[in-house]
Symmetry: C2
Subunit: 442 residues, 2 copies
């Protein structure tokens, strides 16, 4: 009988290992995809794309392998001598003695993915996603996205949160609205979850602190640079809060942790995109109505509607706090009650406003959160006052009837946060396979 006893040792080296001083001058084996070829006649450079970056391989005169056999898109395994070369990426190159072709492409790349910058329209990048993502600068955005998600989870594990998986298919959505995708579930009407809101609240009654990282679905007919119809939401919900500031404090802690993780573990990736990380050591907190006033005063605007925040105003709030306090992030608090869902906790001192907040990053909303109502009577009154029905809310209400601690939470749009962090201006740039009004493929 044969047995497996764990991961097999790799016979090829990765970039981190190749940068080890002690290996210089030794014979190494590497693999990768042929990313670009520069044939100079007497010498040819074959750049391999590896998972951590690119590696220069040199075919010198007298090399038994002819560059004529090498084509972009092949995957290969090469053997040769590892040498230092200051002009090469990471200061290293492999002088090739042999190459084995592992696989062959059958079509030329539709985009010049081997170039450093893909100067291509977003439309082309999305249409040829299999090609564009092979560009080093395009793909590396998703490494940074990984760092954000990883930081979110690791930070919250450390804070006593439990990870949950809640269903994405459900019965008729109680939060309602027209922005819900409908489907047929064995001849019963069903909907796709527009957020894990109700489930994560219910789970506060179980684990006190929970989080989820998963897809959410919004059938909104927006076609803006900031909206997607499916995106990844980083959600948490925490019980036993003293005030809704606890939630913002927790998010501040996450941002600090995540930025440190990126700095330490994703330094190569940040360098490739030339990203300067924002600061989150001190995040200002301003009331919604006060923020509107500050912006109106400084930028000579009139306040048209005291209960609404226009995208232009949001942007100017970002500018204001950058100019006045050097702040990249701002918490805007106390949103008007009528702009928040029924479960939002009203401010007992002025129930026209809620104990809620948005977090703006560079003037763009990347988080919505706040304290929720935990008292079942108060929740019923709010539902009634809004002219809503309790139908479909029975299970949600049961959680409160059985007892729930004071609690609150938030949702972070992963693609938006990535977009702002890497300095893109369209959320599709930081989504592997975006879904929007016109795009259902690839």
């Amino acid at each position: 009988m044969e047995f497996l006893s764990g991961v097999k040792p790799q016979t090829t080296l990765e970039l981190k290992e190749l940068q080890d001083e002690s290996r210089m001058g030794s014979r190494v084996r590497v693999n990768g995809a042929v990313h670009s070829i520069r044939d100079m006649g007497e010498v040819a450079f074959v750049v391999l794309r590896k998972r951590q970056g690119i590696l220069q391989c040199v075919l010198e005169e007298g090399c038994p392998v002819s560059v004529k056999e090498i084509r972009e898109g092949q995957t290969v395994e090469a053997e040769g001598t590892l040498e230092k070369d200051e002009r090469a990426p990471y200061g290293i190159e492999v002088r090739v003695q042999s190459i084995r072709i592992l696989s062959e492409p059958s079509r030329a790349m539709p985009l010049p993915v081997g170039k450093w910058k893909l100067n291509t329209s977003l439309e082309a990048k999305l249409n040829y996603r299999n090609a564009s993502l092979r560009n080093i600068r395009e793909r590396v955005k998703f490494r940074i996205q990984e760092g954000i998600t990883r930081g979110f989870r690791d930070f919250l594990y450390g804070q006593g949160f439990t990870e949950i998986h809640t269903p994405k298919i459900g019965a008729k959505g109680a939060e309602g609205g027209s922005n819900i995708f409908k489907l047929d579930y064995f001849h019963r009407p069903a909907v796709l979850a527009q957020s894990p809101q109700f489930y994560k609240q219910m789970m506060v009654g179980v684990f006190d602190r929970v989080f989820e990282t998963g897809p959410v679905f919004r059938a909104e007919k927006h076609n803006t640079k900031r909206h997607l119809n499916e995106y990844t939401s980083l959600d948490f919900e925490m019980g036993y809060i003293e005030s809704f500031e606890d939630i913002m404090a927790m998010e501040t802690g996450f941002l600090q942790y995540m930025l440190r993780l990126l700095k330490e573990e994703y330094a190569d990736e940040l360098r490739i995109l030339n990203v300067a990380l924002p600061k989150a050591d001190q995040i200002p907190m301003v009331r919604f109505d006060r923020a509107k006033e500050l912006v109106a005063e400084k930028y000579k605007r009139t306040i048209r509607n005291p209960f609404d925040l226009e995208p232009e105003e949001e942007h100017l709030i970002g500018t204001y706090f950058k100019e006045e306090y050097g702040a990249d992030f701002v918490f805007v608090t106390h949103y008007p009650s009528k702009k928040r869902p029924f479960y939002a906790m009203d401010d007992p001192r002025d129930p026209r406003f809620t104990l809620s907040f948005d977090l703006l990053f560079g003037g763009l909303e990347i988080t919505t959160g706040g304290q929720r109502i935990h008292d079942p009577k108060m929740l019923r009154e709010k539902i009634e006052a809004r002219g809503m029905s309790e139908e479909g809310l029975e299970q949600y209400l049961a959680a409160f009837e059985y007892g729930m601690p004071p609690h609150g939470g938030l949702g972070i749009g992963l693609e938006r946060l990535t977009m702002m962090l890497v300095g893109e201006d369209n959320v599709r740039e930081t989504t592997l396979f975006p879904r929007d009004l016109s795009r259902l493929e690839p």
Copy 2:
């Protein structure tokens, strides 16, 4: 201007902190939900449910707080003296001096959640999910589930995998079949992803090694103990493999890592359920046809169909390897080609079989995986030979046309793995909010 500078220090103590020897005899503040009450007249025990477990609070004679004010389901904050008591959970208790009620329930629990074991039907547990999950033994299964997912990700980060998020809504599924949920996407037909298969393969061309942990959707009309219509899939896909054994070796590495993580970080949880972890140091590997023979010989069965594995046979393979080798896991390899999808790599030595495998745990399939076809011509031939159309596969095929390394991967059903690990016999027991033929709520 006010600023937030990070997580606020908690003024209450958690169970880990309360177990600290140096705190014995000191005054502590704790919070939690009233889990059960035992009024003995002169003394009353109020057990609080906290996120890590339960905490015994004692209301002695002369305590300013009357047990009459305390009700199951309240959430409270209590102050008192921390003392050792061998009879109490974790050997500690709080002798209460004051209690503040944070929230009130409005309905009695429909199930005796305060009991150690919830002797209730599965049906009742699922109908009253908000109640049943508050039982300590019910909820703790999902802590172990967290450990599995966490172990999967942490292990793969360490092996150079990149985490991806692929869309769950897509155009007409090319993998096809009747087991796909359909929906209307802005007046276009769309489907829910039954797996991230095509996307993760496409991403091998980008990052070499990728993984995803997310929901998948199967409109299968099975109503068995092992099937769900929505579940969480732990998927990975890896490039530059030498053979399909590399994939099984990687999974073995994951299992070893995950079991160690559970042992080290989830010891309390394992103890609550009395779980004895399985062994994964040496996992036997047996061919599909050989496994059938072994079982037929030992258990005196006739092989009815050499190209099919009945659930009963699967179970007996598990029994066989437990009896003969003390093995909890078995890799069954070389599944018949006609039982595998078109993208499975046929065995060049006998194309009636594939370079694929299932992993059985206690005789139940918890993983399906294998090597995939990476050559675009071979893939087209297979599609044609199966009488399938390339329609809808254009983007998938493009990845291969642009060049793809030899690769393979697998998908693990999280709820099934959890079920087997904690010794349940229905996958609904280890799903927070299961979706099946009859269940769309809560």
